[in-house]
């Protein structure tokens, strides 16, 4: 076993838990501090049983996230698709959400189908339809939701985002609200700022076109919750926050 492995949280938790259990045995046998011994046993068992997750290094996680989005972005660069992404929720023709990237100026969403990737819907309706890069992350969040996400409104979208934020630790916090006829989404970083900057260094268009898996999961969640296609019309990023302005496409 490598020294690095021993520093990982799952091993550290077992070591700490074992120390607490040994301490509790000592307290039970050699002292009359029954409550202290019981407390030590409780913390030991808790540490071993609850902190059981296998973890990967943050750099590995970032590389995996990057590898899922950069080849796609390079392809879109080569195809010279300049339009901003539109997140389309499932509908009669679509069984899962899609990101539609128009070839030029956006003039409406063509009819999208599951099996179609390249869309040729006539003038102004040509582009590419892709499964959002954050869809698998959102699927994991949906497993924890008490109700279906589709069409349950802005509160339901916030619940889904709450799971992405607090359950999956993708961000520190978020804000989703309607303002001046558009949807404002603000995501506050939680240690992925370097990853975000690195991706933006490689392609500034990435954020408004498909988004990275993290932002994509949030926007897909908003789109499915509101049951409305959302088009990215504004993007800002500062040291702590990412701000999206989304337009509802009727």
């Amino acid at each position: 076993m490598k020294k690095e492995d021993l520093k990982s949280p799952e091993y550290l938790s077992k070591v700490i838990g074992t120390i607490f259990i040994i301490l509790s045995i000592y307290l039970f046998i050699f002292t009359e501090q029954i409550n202290t011994a019981f407390a030590s046993l409780f913390i030991g068992v808790l540490t071993i049983t609850i902190l059981h997750f296998k973890t990967v290094k943050i750099s590995t996680a970032e590389s995996m996230l990057e590898s899922s989005v950069m080849p796609l972005n390079d392809l879109l660069e080569d195809l010279d698709l300049d339009g901003d992404g539109v997140y389309v929720p499932p509908n009669e023709q679509l069984s899962s959400s899609r990101t539609y990237i128009p070839a030029g100026d956006f003039r409406g969403i063509p009819t999208l189908y599951d099996e179609m990737t390249v869309i040729t819907g006539g003038a102004g309706r040509t582009g590419i339809s892709l499964i959002p890069s954050g869809a698998p992350i959102l699927d994991e969040a949906k497993e924890h939701m008490e109700s279906e996400l589709y069409g349950i409104g802005i509160e339901g979208a916030r619940e889904g985002m709450g799971i992405l934020t607090h359950g999956l630790s993708l961000a520190k916090s978020f804000s989703l609200r309607r303002e001046d006829g558009s949807i404002k989404l603000r995501i506050t970083h939680n240690g992925f700022n370097d990853y975000c900057e690195e991706l933006r260094g490689k392609s500034t268009k990435l954020c408004t076109r498909t988004g990275c898996p993290i932002c994509s999961a949030y926007i897909t969640c908003a789109s499915e919750g509101l049951d409305t296609p959302l088009r990215i019309v504004g993007f800002e990023k500062d040291e702590k926050h990412i701000k999206f302005t989304l337009e509802e496409v009727r």
């Binding site: 029954i34 409550n35 619940e159």
Partner: protein, 83 residues
């Protein structure tokens, strides 16, 4: 900090608070306070935790409930002067 780490840290703090409040002798009260702590944290985090963590917390709760039933039974028998 991940949600399961938050659970362990908060329950660890709760255990320390209970230990300070109850002291070193009243095991029944101490155990029941710990059970209340686990129940509250399970309820508050149920939406965010995965099934595996939830199942493990449930196991802790079942052990706590058995402990609670034992404490109540002993008290009843004590009041009825059976033991």
């Amino acid at each position: 900090m991940m949600i399961h780490q938050k659970i362990v840290v908060s329950l660890g703090l709760w255990t320390a608070i209970c230990l300070v409040l109850v002291g070193g002798h009243n095991l029944e009260l101490f155990g029941i306070l710990l059970l209340i702590g686990v129940l509250i944290s399970r309820e508050l985090t149920s939406t965010f935790t995965d099934l595996k963590t939830g199942d493990r917390m449930d196991t802790l709760i079942y052990i706590g409930i058995i402990f609670f039933v034992a404490v109540v039974s002993i008290r009843i028998l004590d009041i009825l002067e059976i033991i």
